[in-house]
Amino acid sequence: MITNAGGINPTAAAHAAIDTARKLGVSGITIATVVGDDVHTRLGALHSEAGQPFAHLDTGEPFDAFPGPPLFASAYLGARPIVDALAQGADIVITGRVADASLFLAPLVHEHGWDWDDWDRLAAGILVGHLLECSGQSIGGNYSGDWWALPHPWDLPYPIASVDADGTAVISKPRGSGGRVSTDTLRHQLLYEVHDPARYLSPDVVADFTSARFVDLADDRVRISEVRGTPATETYKLLLSAHAGWAGEARVAFSWPDAYEKAKATAAIFRKRVELADLEVDEWLVEYWGVDALGGPTVPRSASEPPECTLRIAWRCADQRTAGLVGRELVPLTLSAPPAGMTGAGRGAGTSATELLSIWPTLIEKSVVDAEVRVVLEEVD
Protein backbone atom coordinates (compact mmCIF):
# COMPACT_ATOMS: atom_id res chain seq x y z
CA MET A 1 0.00 0.00 0.00
CA ILE A 2 1.42 3.34 -1.10
CA THR A 3 -0.21 6.60 -0.05
CA ASN A 4 0.56 10.30 0.20
CA ALA A 5 -2.12 10.56 2.88
CA GLY A 6 0.56 11.63 5.38
CA GLY A 7 -0.33 15.16 4.30
CA ILE A 8 1.82 17.70 6.12
CA ASN A 9 2.67 15.25 8.92
CA PRO A 10 3.62 11.85 7.47
CA THR A 11 5.49 10.84 10.64
CA ALA A 12 2.33 11.16 12.75
CA ALA A 13 0.38 9.29 10.08
CA ALA A 14 2.91 6.44 10.20
CA HIS A 15 2.66 6.28 14.00
CA ALA A 16 -1.14 6.08 13.69
CA ALA A 17 -0.77 3.27 11.16
CA ILE A 18 1.63 1.39 13.46
CA ASP A 19 -0.76 1.79 16.42
CA THR A 20 -3.67 0.57 14.30
CA ALA A 21 -1.70 -2.45 13.07
CA ARG A 22 -0.85 -3.37 16.70
CA LYS A 23 -4.47 -2.97 17.81
CA LEU A 24 -5.57 -5.25 14.98
CA GLY A 25 -2.93 -7.80 15.95
CA VAL A 26 -1.09 -7.43 12.66
CA SER A 27 2.61 -8.24 12.86
CA GLY A 28 5.57 -8.83 10.57
CA ILE A 29 4.98 -5.80 8.39
CA THR A 30 7.29 -2.92 7.58
CA ILE A 31 5.96 0.61 7.39
CA ALA A 32 8.05 3.20 5.56
CA THR A 33 7.69 6.95 5.93
CA VAL A 34 8.99 9.33 3.29
CA VAL A 35 9.95 12.71 4.71
CA GLY A 36 11.70 15.76 3.28
CA ASP A 37 8.97 17.24 1.09
CA ASP A 38 8.32 19.80 3.85
CA VAL A 39 10.77 22.71 3.43
CA HIS A 40 8.82 25.14 5.65
CA THR A 41 11.56 25.71 8.22
CA ARG A 42 14.23 26.07 5.52
CA LEU A 43 12.26 28.44 3.30
CA GLY A 44 14.00 31.69 4.24
CA ALA A 45 17.48 30.20 3.92
CA LEU A 46 16.61 28.51 0.63
CA HIS A 47 15.55 31.88 -0.74
CA SER A 48 18.23 34.18 0.62
CA GLU A 49 21.23 31.81 0.81
CA ALA A 50 20.54 29.03 -1.70
CA GLY A 51 19.20 31.48 -4.29
CA GLN A 52 15.77 29.93 -4.87
CA PRO A 53 13.69 32.71 -6.43
CA PHE A 54 10.23 31.27 -5.50
CA ALA A 55 8.45 33.54 -8.00
CA HIS A 56 4.75 32.73 -8.43
CA LEU A 57 4.48 30.02 -11.09
CA ASP A 58 1.33 31.41 -12.74
CA THR A 59 1.62 35.18 -12.31
CA GLY A 60 5.40 35.62 -12.17
CA GLU A 61 5.14 37.81 -9.05
CA PRO A 62 8.41 37.92 -7.05
CA PHE A 63 8.63 36.20 -3.64
CA ASP A 64 8.76 39.66 -2.00
CA ALA A 65 5.04 39.93 -2.79
CA PHE A 66 4.22 36.74 -0.81
CA PRO A 67 1.15 37.60 1.31
CA GLY A 68 2.20 37.00 4.92
CA PRO A 69 4.07 34.33 6.86
CA PRO A 70 4.04 30.96 5.05
CA LEU A 71 1.80 28.36 6.72
CA PHE A 72 3.32 25.44 4.88
CA ALA A 73 5.81 24.80 2.10
CA SER A 74 5.70 21.37 0.50
CA ALA A 75 7.55 20.14 -2.57
CA TYR A 76 5.86 17.59 -4.82
CA LEU A 77 8.33 14.68 -4.67
CA GLY A 78 8.42 11.94 -7.28
CA ALA A 79 8.51 8.14 -7.25
CA ARG A 80 12.17 7.67 -6.27
CA PRO A 81 11.94 7.63 -2.45
CA ILE A 82 8.95 5.27 -2.69
CA VAL A 83 10.95 2.90 -4.90
CA ASP A 84 13.78 3.10 -2.33
CA ALA A 85 11.29 2.15 0.40
CA LEU A 86 9.96 -0.80 -1.63
CA ALA A 87 13.52 -1.98 -2.31
CA GLN A 88 14.09 -2.03 1.46
CA GLY A 89 11.09 -4.29 1.94
CA ALA A 90 8.36 -1.84 2.90
CA ASP A 91 4.80 -3.23 2.90
CA ILE A 92 3.20 0.16 3.50
CA VAL A 93 4.66 3.46 2.30
CA ILE A 94 3.31 6.68 3.78
CA THR A 95 4.48 9.95 2.30
CA GLY A 96 3.85 13.65 2.63
CA ARG A 97 3.49 15.64 -0.57
CA VAL A 98 4.20 13.39 -3.56
CA ALA A 99 2.69 14.03 -6.99
CA ASP A 100 -0.34 11.71 -7.17
CA ALA A 101 0.65 10.09 -10.48
CA SER A 102 4.09 9.23 -9.08
CA LEU A 103 2.46 7.02 -6.41
CA PHE A 104 1.39 4.72 -9.24
CA LEU A 105 4.68 4.93 -11.16
CA ALA A 106 6.67 3.77 -8.12
CA PRO A 107 5.49 0.12 -7.99
CA LEU A 108 5.95 -0.16 -11.77
CA VAL A 109 9.57 0.99 -11.53
CA HIS A 110 10.09 -1.38 -8.59
CA GLU A 111 8.53 -4.44 -10.25
CA HIS A 112 9.80 -3.92 -13.80
CA GLY A 113 13.20 -2.49 -12.86
CA TRP A 114 12.77 0.51 -15.17
CA ASP A 115 15.74 2.90 -15.32
CA TRP A 116 15.33 6.52 -14.21
CA ASP A 117 16.25 7.67 -17.72
CA ASP A 118 13.92 5.29 -19.56
CA TRP A 119 11.72 8.27 -20.39
CA ASP A 120 9.11 6.51 -22.54
CA ARG A 121 8.37 3.87 -19.90
CA LEU A 122 8.37 6.42 -17.09
CA ALA A 123 5.93 8.52 -19.16
CA ALA A 124 3.71 5.47 -19.67
CA GLY A 125 3.69 4.92 -15.92
CA ILE A 126 2.86 8.56 -15.22
CA LEU A 127 0.03 8.53 -17.76
CA VAL A 128 -1.42 5.41 -16.13
CA GLY A 129 -0.99 7.05 -12.73
CA HIS A 130 -2.83 10.14 -13.92
CA LEU A 131 -5.70 7.96 -15.15
CA LEU A 132 -5.89 6.20 -11.77
CA GLU A 133 -5.23 9.09 -9.38
CA CYS A 134 -8.82 10.37 -9.31
CA SER A 135 -10.49 7.02 -8.66
CA GLY A 136 -13.87 6.80 -10.43
CA GLN A 137 -13.29 9.82 -12.65
CA SER A 138 -11.71 7.68 -15.39
CA ILE A 139 -14.49 5.08 -15.54
CA GLY A 140 -17.66 7.12 -15.53
CA GLY A 141 -17.43 9.55 -12.61
CA ASN A 142 -18.03 13.18 -13.64
CA TYR A 143 -18.57 11.85 -17.17
CA SER A 144 -20.16 14.18 -19.72
CA GLY A 145 -21.13 11.43 -22.20
CA ASP A 146 -24.23 9.28 -21.71
CA TRP A 147 -23.74 9.31 -17.94
CA TRP A 148 -27.35 8.28 -17.37
CA ALA A 149 -26.74 4.99 -19.20
CA LEU A 150 -23.75 3.75 -17.15
CA PRO A 151 -24.34 0.34 -15.55
CA HIS A 152 -25.32 0.53 -11.85
CA PRO A 153 -23.76 3.90 -11.09
CA TRP A 154 -24.27 3.43 -7.33
CA ASP A 155 -21.44 0.89 -7.46
CA LEU A 156 -18.75 2.81 -9.32
CA PRO A 157 -15.41 1.16 -8.46
CA TYR A 158 -11.80 2.26 -8.74
CA PRO A 159 -10.05 1.49 -12.05
CA ILE A 160 -7.36 -1.16 -12.42
CA ALA A 161 -4.23 -0.89 -14.59
CA SER A 162 -2.24 -3.92 -15.74
CA VAL A 163 1.07 -2.63 -17.04
CA ASP A 164 3.60 -4.68 -19.01
CA ALA A 165 7.36 -4.26 -18.74
CA ASP A 166 7.35 -2.38 -22.07
CA GLY A 167 4.90 0.22 -20.67
CA THR A 168 1.81 -1.00 -22.52
CA ALA A 169 -1.17 -0.84 -20.18
CA VAL A 170 -4.67 -2.25 -20.07
CA ILE A 171 -7.17 -0.29 -17.99
CA SER A 172 -10.08 -2.31 -16.58
CA LYS A 173 -12.33 -2.50 -13.52
CA PRO A 174 -13.54 -5.24 -11.20
CA ARG A 175 -15.81 -7.76 -12.91
CA GLY A 176 -19.50 -7.07 -12.33
CA SER A 177 -18.94 -3.56 -10.97
CA GLY A 178 -20.67 -0.41 -12.20
CA GLY A 179 -19.36 2.29 -14.50
CA ARG A 180 -17.64 1.86 -17.84
CA VAL A 181 -14.09 1.67 -19.20
CA SER A 182 -13.84 3.15 -22.70
CA THR A 183 -11.55 5.51 -24.58
CA ASP A 184 -14.24 8.15 -24.03
CA THR A 185 -14.42 7.75 -20.25
CA LEU A 186 -10.61 7.62 -20.05
CA ARG A 187 -9.96 10.69 -22.19
CA HIS A 188 -12.13 12.72 -19.81
CA GLN A 189 -9.58 11.97 -17.09
CA LEU A 190 -6.56 12.21 -19.43
CA LEU A 191 -6.94 16.00 -19.67
CA TYR A 192 -8.29 16.60 -16.14
CA GLU A 193 -6.25 19.29 -14.37
CA VAL A 194 -3.77 19.27 -17.25
CA HIS A 195 -2.27 22.31 -18.94
CA ASP A 196 -0.14 21.40 -22.01
CA PRO A 197 -0.97 17.73 -22.69
CA ALA A 198 2.17 17.34 -24.84
CA ARG A 199 4.29 18.36 -21.83
CA TYR A 200 2.76 16.95 -18.67
CA LEU A 201 5.33 17.93 -16.05
CA SER A 202 5.76 15.26 -13.41
CA PRO A 203 8.68 15.08 -10.97
CA ASP A 204 9.90 11.91 -12.71
CA VAL A 205 9.48 12.64 -16.43
CA VAL A 206 7.86 15.05 -18.89
CA ALA A 207 5.11 12.92 -20.43
CA ASP A 208 3.56 13.50 -23.84
CA PHE A 209 -0.10 12.57 -23.39
CA THR A 210 -0.77 13.38 -27.06
CA SER A 211 1.47 10.45 -28.11
CA ALA A 212 -0.65 7.77 -26.44
CA ARG A 213 -2.66 5.34 -28.54
CA PHE A 214 -5.97 4.16 -27.06
CA VAL A 215 -7.67 0.97 -28.34
CA ASP A 216 -11.03 -0.21 -27.01
CA LEU A 217 -10.95 -3.95 -26.26
CA ALA A 218 -13.93 -6.04 -25.26
CA ASP A 219 -15.39 -6.23 -21.71
CA ASP A 220 -14.57 -2.80 -20.31
CA ARG A 221 -10.90 -2.86 -21.19
CA VAL A 222 -8.82 -0.28 -23.03
CA ARG A 223 -5.21 -0.77 -24.14
CA ILE A 224 -2.85 2.21 -24.02
CA SER A 225 0.49 2.09 -25.82
CA GLU A 226 3.17 4.17 -27.52
CA VAL A 227 3.44 6.79 -24.77
CA ARG A 228 6.48 9.02 -25.21
CA GLY A 229 8.43 10.96 -22.63
CA THR A 230 11.32 13.41 -22.39
CA PRO A 231 13.77 14.10 -19.53
CA ALA A 232 12.38 15.39 -16.25
CA THR A 233 13.06 19.02 -15.35
CA GLU A 234 15.59 20.10 -12.70
CA THR A 235 12.85 21.47 -10.44
CA TYR A 236 10.01 20.27 -8.26
CA LYS A 237 6.74 22.12 -7.94
CA LEU A 238 6.57 23.72 -4.49
CA LEU A 239 3.31 24.82 -2.89
CA LEU A 240 3.37 27.66 -0.38
CA SER A 241 0.39 29.01 1.47
CA ALA A 242 -0.55 32.01 3.60
CA HIS A 243 -3.54 32.92 5.73
CA ALA A 244 -6.04 34.95 3.68
CA GLY A 245 -8.74 36.00 6.14
CA TRP A 246 -12.07 34.51 7.16
CA ALA A 247 -15.14 33.78 5.07
CA GLY A 248 -18.80 33.51 5.94
CA GLU A 249 -21.77 32.81 3.71
CA ALA A 250 -25.57 32.67 3.77
CA ARG A 251 -28.18 31.19 1.46
CA VAL A 252 -31.79 32.21 1.32
CA ALA A 253 -34.46 31.20 -1.17
CA PHE A 254 -37.12 33.34 -2.84
CA SER A 255 -40.18 32.21 -4.73
CA TRP A 256 -42.00 33.56 -7.75
CA PRO A 257 -43.10 36.25 -8.43
CA ASP A 258 -40.07 38.53 -8.78
CA ALA A 259 -37.75 35.99 -7.16
CA TYR A 260 -34.57 37.44 -8.67
CA GLU A 261 -35.45 41.05 -7.82
CA LYS A 262 -36.27 40.07 -4.24
CA ALA A 263 -32.95 38.25 -3.91
CA LYS A 264 -31.06 41.24 -5.28
CA ALA A 265 -32.83 43.74 -3.00
CA THR A 266 -32.22 41.52 0.03
CA ALA A 267 -28.50 41.31 -0.81
CA ALA A 268 -28.35 45.10 -0.98
CA ILE A 269 -30.30 45.59 2.28
CA PHE A 270 -28.04 43.06 4.02
CA ARG A 271 -24.90 44.84 2.82
CA LYS A 272 -26.27 48.19 3.94
CA ARG A 273 -27.05 46.81 7.42
CA VAL A 274 -23.51 45.42 7.69
CA GLU A 275 -22.13 48.81 6.71
CA LEU A 276 -24.33 50.59 9.31
CA ALA A 277 -23.18 48.10 11.95
CA ASP A 278 -19.59 49.21 11.26
CA LEU A 279 -18.46 45.71 10.38
CA GLU A 280 -15.54 45.72 8.01
CA VAL A 281 -15.84 43.40 5.01
CA ASP A 282 -12.89 43.12 2.62
CA GLU A 283 -14.71 41.27 -0.18
CA TRP A 284 -18.31 40.46 -1.07
CA LEU A 285 -19.57 37.90 -3.57
CA VAL A 286 -23.25 37.66 -4.56
CA GLU A 287 -24.60 34.68 -6.52
CA TYR A 288 -28.18 34.15 -7.77
CA TRP A 289 -28.74 30.38 -7.87
CA GLY A 290 -31.33 29.48 -10.42
CA VAL A 291 -30.34 32.49 -12.53
CA ASP A 292 -26.60 32.62 -13.31
CA ALA A 293 -24.67 31.67 -10.16
CA LEU A 294 -22.55 29.02 -11.86
CA GLY A 295 -22.49 30.20 -15.47
CA GLY A 296 -21.94 33.93 -14.92
CA PRO A 297 -21.62 35.84 -18.17
CA THR A 298 -21.90 32.62 -20.24
CA VAL A 299 -25.61 32.44 -19.35
CA PRO A 300 -27.77 34.33 -21.87
CA ARG A 301 -30.22 36.87 -20.43
CA SER A 302 -33.61 35.21 -20.27
CA ALA A 303 -36.85 37.02 -21.06
CA SER A 304 -38.86 34.79 -18.70
CA GLU A 305 -38.53 35.19 -14.96
CA PRO A 306 -37.19 32.26 -12.92
CA PRO A 307 -39.75 30.28 -10.87
CA GLU A 308 -37.48 30.62 -7.84
CA CYS A 309 -34.07 32.01 -6.97
CA THR A 310 -31.63 31.33 -4.13
CA LEU A 311 -29.43 34.17 -3.02
CA ARG A 312 -25.99 33.04 -1.92
CA ILE A 313 -23.93 35.82 -0.45
CA ALA A 314 -20.38 35.32 0.78
CA TRP A 315 -18.02 37.69 2.50
CA ARG A 316 -14.39 37.85 3.59
CA CYS A 317 -13.22 39.64 6.73
CA ALA A 318 -9.84 40.07 8.37
CA ASP A 319 -10.88 38.27 11.57
CA GLN A 320 -13.10 35.34 12.52
CA ARG A 321 -15.31 37.27 14.95
CA THR A 322 -16.29 39.93 12.41
CA ALA A 323 -17.02 37.29 9.77
CA GLY A 324 -19.41 35.67 12.26
CA LEU A 325 -21.10 38.95 13.24
CA VAL A 326 -21.79 39.85 9.61
CA GLY A 327 -23.98 36.76 9.22
CA ARG A 328 -26.20 37.89 12.10
CA GLU A 329 -27.24 41.01 10.18
CA LEU A 330 -29.21 38.77 7.81
CA VAL A 331 -31.35 37.08 10.45
CA PRO A 332 -33.88 39.90 11.10
CA LEU A 333 -34.53 40.25 7.37
CA THR A 334 -36.69 37.12 7.45
CA LEU A 335 -39.41 39.29 9.01
CA SER A 336 -38.22 42.82 8.43
CA ALA A 337 -37.24 43.17 4.80
CA PRO A 338 -39.55 44.63 2.15
CA PRO A 339 -39.28 41.75 -0.37
CA ALA A 340 -41.67 39.12 0.95
CA GLY A 341 -41.09 35.47 0.25
CA MET A 342 -37.69 34.89 1.81
CA THR A 343 -37.29 31.50 3.46
CA GLY A 344 -34.92 30.77 6.30
CA ALA A 345 -31.75 28.91 5.46
CA GLY A 346 -33.24 25.86 7.21
CA ARG A 347 -31.66 23.38 9.55
CA GLY A 348 -27.92 23.57 9.70
CA ALA A 349 -27.92 27.33 9.18
CA GLY A 350 -25.49 29.53 11.03
CA THR A 351 -22.27 27.80 10.10
CA SER A 352 -19.20 29.40 11.58
CA ALA A 353 -16.65 31.36 9.60
CA THR A 354 -14.12 29.45 7.54
CA GLU A 355 -10.43 30.24 7.30
CA LEU A 356 -9.21 31.08 3.81
CA LEU A 357 -5.78 30.30 2.44
CA SER A 358 -4.01 31.89 -0.46
CA ILE A 359 -1.78 29.51 -2.33
CA TRP A 360 1.46 30.29 -4.10
CA PRO A 361 2.68 27.62 -6.51
CA THR A 362 6.36 27.93 -7.38
CA LEU A 363 9.43 25.88 -8.30
CA ILE A 364 12.41 24.65 -6.27
CA GLU A 365 15.63 23.01 -7.42
CA LYS A 366 15.43 19.27 -6.90
CA SER A 367 18.96 19.00 -5.49
CA VAL A 368 18.26 21.21 -2.45
CA VAL A 369 15.14 19.20 -1.60
CA ASP A 370 16.58 15.74 -2.29
CA ALA A 371 19.46 16.42 0.10
CA GLU A 372 16.93 16.19 2.96
CA VAL A 373 14.62 13.44 1.67
CA ARG A 374 14.76 10.33 3.85
CA VAL A 375 12.99 6.99 4.08
CA VAL A 376 12.33 5.88 7.66
CA LEU A 377 11.52 2.18 8.14
CA GLU A 378 9.71 0.78 11.15
CA GLU A 379 8.84 -2.85 11.66
CA VAL A 380 5.62 -3.83 13.42
CA ASP A 381 6.52 -7.00 15.31
Binding site: T59, S144, W148, D184, H195, P197, F209, L285, P297
Partner: protein
Protein backbone atom coordinates in the same frame (compact mmCIF):
# COMPACT_ATOMS: atom_id res chain seq x y z
CA UNK B 1 -25.13 26.07 -41.90
CA UNK B 2 -26.81 25.65 -38.53
CA UNK B 3 -26.05 27.48 -35.29
CA UNK B 4 -25.58 24.99 -32.45
CA UNK B 5 -24.36 25.10 -28.87
CA UNK B 6 -21.28 22.94 -28.27
CA UNK B 7 -23.34 20.79 -25.88
CA UNK B 8 -24.92 19.23 -29.00
CA UNK B 9 -21.51 18.16 -30.31
CA UNK B 10 -18.93 17.69 -27.57
CA UNK B 11 -18.10 16.17 -24.24
CA UNK B 12 -16.36 18.27 -21.60
CA UNK B 13 -14.48 18.18 -18.29
CA UNK B 14 -13.09 20.97 -16.14
CA UNK B 15 -10.31 20.90 -13.54
CA UNK B 16 -8.31 23.32 -11.40
CA UNK B 17 -4.74 24.10 -10.38
CA UNK B 18 -4.62 27.08 -8.04
CA UNK B 19 -6.35 30.03 -9.71
CA UNK B 20 -5.99 28.36 -13.15
CA UNK B 21 -8.89 26.36 -14.58
CA UNK B 22 -8.75 24.02 -17.55
CA UNK B 23 -11.66 22.84 -19.63
CA UNK B 24 -11.25 19.99 -22.10
CA UNK B 25 -13.62 19.63 -25.04
CA UNK B 26 -14.04 16.20 -26.67
CA UNK B 27 -15.21 15.49 -30.23
CA UNK B 28 -16.70 12.13 -31.14
CA UNK B 29 -15.35 11.92 -34.74
CA UNK B 30 -12.70 13.46 -36.99
CA UNK B 31 -15.11 15.80 -38.78
CA UNK B 32 -16.39 17.29 -35.52
CA UNK B 33 -12.81 17.57 -34.25
CA UNK B 34 -11.75 19.50 -37.37
CA UNK B 35 -14.78 21.76 -36.85
CA UNK B 36 -13.98 22.65 -33.24
CA UNK B 37 -10.29 23.14 -34.05
CA UNK B 38 -11.44 25.72 -36.62
CA UNK B 39 -14.26 27.36 -34.64
CA UNK B 40 -13.43 27.19 -30.94
CA UNK B 41 -10.40 29.43 -30.68
CA UNK B 42 -8.79 30.63 -27.46
CA UNK B 43 -9.99 34.17 -28.25
CA UNK B 44 -13.64 33.04 -28.56
CA UNK B 45 -13.44 31.13 -25.30
CA UNK B 46 -11.90 34.14 -23.56
CA UNK B 47 -14.73 36.33 -24.85
CA UNK B 48 -17.38 33.74 -23.88
CA UNK B 49 -16.30 33.66 -20.24
CA UNK B 50 -16.12 37.48 -19.98
CA UNK B 51 -15.44 38.75 -16.46
CA UNK B 52 -15.36 35.19 -15.07
CA UNK B 53 -11.82 34.70 -16.43
CA UNK B 54 -9.53 37.60 -15.59
CA UNK B 55 -6.39 36.34 -17.32
CA UNK B 56 -5.14 34.76 -20.50
CA UNK B 57 -6.73 31.73 -22.21
CA UNK B 58 -4.41 29.27 -23.99
CA UNK B 59 -5.55 26.39 -26.18
CA UNK B 60 -3.81 23.03 -26.59
CA UNK B 61 -4.66 20.24 -29.04
CA UNK B 62 -4.67 16.51 -28.26
CA UNK B 63 -5.55 15.03 -31.66
CA UNK B 64 -4.96 11.46 -30.44
CA UNK B 65 -8.14 11.72 -28.33
CA UNK B 66 -9.83 14.40 -30.48
CA UNK B 67 -9.68 16.95 -27.70
CA UNK B 68 -8.99 20.63 -27.19
CA UNK B 69 -7.80 21.85 -23.82
CA UNK B 70 -8.39 25.43 -22.72
CA UNK B 71 -6.24 26.75 -19.89
CA UNK B 72 -7.67 29.86 -18.26
CA UNK B 73 -5.63 32.06 -15.91
CA UNK B 74 -7.27 33.92 -13.02
CA UNK B 75 -10.46 31.90 -13.44
CA UNK B 76 -11.37 30.83 -9.90
CA UNK B 77 -11.59 33.92 -7.73
CA UNK B 78 -8.14 33.32 -6.25
CA UNK B 79 -8.12 29.51 -6.26
CA UNK B 80 -9.92 26.80 -4.26
CA UNK B 81 -8.95 27.57 -0.65
CA UNK B 82 -9.11 31.35 -1.20
CA UNK B 83 -12.19 31.79 -3.41
CA UNK B 84 -15.62 32.96 -2.17
CA UNK B 85 -17.34 31.25 -5.14
CA UNK B 86 -19.68 28.31 -4.49
CA UNK B 87 -17.90 26.52 -7.35
CA UNK B 88 -14.45 27.37 -6.04
CA UNK B 89 -12.85 24.51 -8.01
CA UNK B 90 -14.47 25.43 -11.32
CA UNK B 91 -16.12 22.02 -11.75
CA UNK B 92 -19.02 23.59 -13.65
CA UNK B 93 -16.91 25.54 -16.15
CA UNK B 94 -17.16 22.65 -18.65
CA UNK B 95 -20.91 23.08 -18.75
CA UNK B 96 -20.44 26.83 -19.10
CA UNK B 97 -18.12 26.34 -22.08
CA UNK B 98 -20.53 24.09 -24.02
CA UNK B 99 -23.12 26.89 -24.02
CA UNK B 100 -20.93 28.51 -26.67
CA UNK B 101 -22.67 28.49 -30.06
CA UNK B 102 -20.80 27.83 -33.30
CA UNK B 103 -21.70 27.55 -37.00
CA UNK B 104 -22.05 23.89 -37.94
CA UNK B 105 -22.27 22.53 -41.52
CA UNK B 106 -25.50 20.66 -42.34
CA UNK B 107 -23.53 17.39 -42.58
CA UNK B 108 -22.83 17.56 -38.84
CA UNK B 109 -25.94 19.34 -37.60
CA UNK B 110 -27.90 16.08 -37.46
CA UNK B 111 -25.43 14.39 -35.09
CA UNK B 112 -26.76 15.92 -31.90
CA UNK B 113 -25.89 14.30 -28.62
CA UNK B 114 -28.81 12.51 -26.94
CA UNK B 115 -30.64 13.92 -23.93
CA UNK B 116 -30.56 12.06 -20.60
CA UNK B 117 -33.04 9.31 -19.84
CA UNK B 118 -33.25 8.95 -16.06
CA UNK B 119 -36.35 6.76 -15.82
CA UNK B 120 -34.29 4.38 -13.64
CA UNK B 121 -34.03 7.19 -11.10
CA UNK B 122 -37.83 7.43 -10.95
CA UNK B 123 -37.98 3.73 -10.14
CA UNK B 124 -35.69 4.22 -7.14
CA UNK B 125 -37.21 7.49 -5.94
CA UNK B 126 -40.81 6.28 -6.23
CA UNK B 127 -40.16 3.03 -4.37
Amino acid sequence: MARLALRELCGYRAGDKGDVANVALFASDDETYALIVREVTAARVKEHFGAMVRGRVDRYEAANVRALNFVMQGALGGGGPRSLRADSLGKTLGGALVRLEIDVPESLAGRRRPRPDVSWADEILDA
